[in-house]
Symmetry: C2
Subunit: 207 residues, 2 copies
DNA sequence: ACCAAGTTAGTAATTGGTGACTATCTTAAT
DNA sequence: ATTAAGATAGTCACCAATTACTAACTTGGT
């Protein structure tokens, strides 16, 4: 009758991963700020208090979430870049990897951009700032290489182009947040990247 | 001794404007979600309860804020576009007007992008979606005109370019949120726009 | 191989605090 | 004198964190 679901007891490490996972899920649904520890517990069929067996404070959970994201993203994007033949190819591969990653975890850009950035918190803020500015620096660096190889315009401002690159991703995410799901994201991304690419390629003397 | 500040009593209409004003200010400082009605009251030297003489619910305040932003932005951007000589010029003038407007009210993109977009609320969400998609449609429309006048590449996807345009603004805002103030925003914007512009101009057959 | 002792994850109830909203009184302005 | 804005003092709901306790593993000594 009572088909009792086997309630496994998880190790603290496993449970921490579980908490991180559901936190990301919940943040995708209702936004970071409105996710409560009760929500997390409900999503895991656990009591609210037991969360604090595994994390000292709720803030620590978000820190762990952002670290998780950073590590996964670095791995995925880094692998994509490693397979590239030249700097421009690397940027394109990173872009595609990034979009695919976001498609799998729609909550992530929402977590990184904007919301947590405005917390006084400092720990979280610094973490996120580090991720974004590191990413931007990586793109700018690749663009400098591309310039050295004459793949892009010599008078291109690499940093500004990197800002546009990241903005492009933000714009695509917002677009897909408003209209439709991830299918739209992929398709829209494919159409948008060439415009960016053309923007950084050699121009005809005049600005 | 007690240099009693003359505490004027405002009409409900005046007080509503005041509430909208301080709400935007506070949202810029600490993010929309963490602004309380107590914060607003403090900022106006008023008691918390009095707020509700002028707005029925807190949500109504944010609705009023977004409506205020929409009206101001439409006016500023619309005027900029009206002075333009051609569609591309209109886009550039709109961009500059938009950046200048954001420079004056740094909270605004934070209000529109992301945070309030993820509220179930519907009223607010619809309002914001309307603003963004309307803006995007306006840009896409101008790009279509530009295409008709052969000012941009004939095979340009106007909608994708509009996504990139909006993303560019988001990227610039985020950039200036992380590093430095509005001075940086203006300067960075001037360097970034030409890259976008070049991206939409005539390309050499191949994509 | 066994089991008592120790350890750790989970529960249930509670605490301290905060925030939106309200009912009632007070006062300034016409 | 009337009335609308503001003050005061609440209520109610929610939430992070804690505490006292229990159930389920793990392990070392026999």
């Amino acid at each position: 009758m009572n088909q009792e679901v086997v309630k496994r007891r998880l190790s603290s490490e496993e449970r921490q991963s579980e908490i991180i996972r559901v936190s990301i899920e919940l943040a995708a649904e209702k936004g970071v700020d409105s996710v409560t520890t009760q929500d997390m517990a409900d999503a895991m069929q656990l009591t609210q208090g037991s969360i604090f067996r595994h994390f000292a404070t709720k803030d620590d959970i978000w820190v762990a979430v952002v670290v998780w994201i950073r590590d996964r993203m670095m791995k995925v994007v880094g692998k994509a870049a490693a397979e590239a033949s030249d700097p421009l190819d690397a940027i394109e591969r990173m872009f595609n990897a990034h979009i695919a990653f976001i498609g799998k975890h729609p909550a992530i850009p929402r977590l990184l951009f904007s919301e947590l950035l405005h917390k006084k918190n400092s720990k979280l803020r610094q973490l996120i700032e580090g991720i974004i500015s590191g990413y931007e620096a990586k793109i700018a660096g690749l663009l400098d290489e591309a310039k050295a190889q004459s793949l892009v315009s010599a008078d291109l401002d690499s940093q500004s182009a990197a800002v546009l690159y990241i903005g492009m991703i933000q714009g695509l995410v917002m677009q897909s947040t408003i209209f439709g799901g991830k299918r739209a994201l992929q398709q829209q991304a494919e159409k948008t990247f060439p415009i960016f690419l053309h923007g950084i390629k050699t121009r005809s003397s005049s600005i």
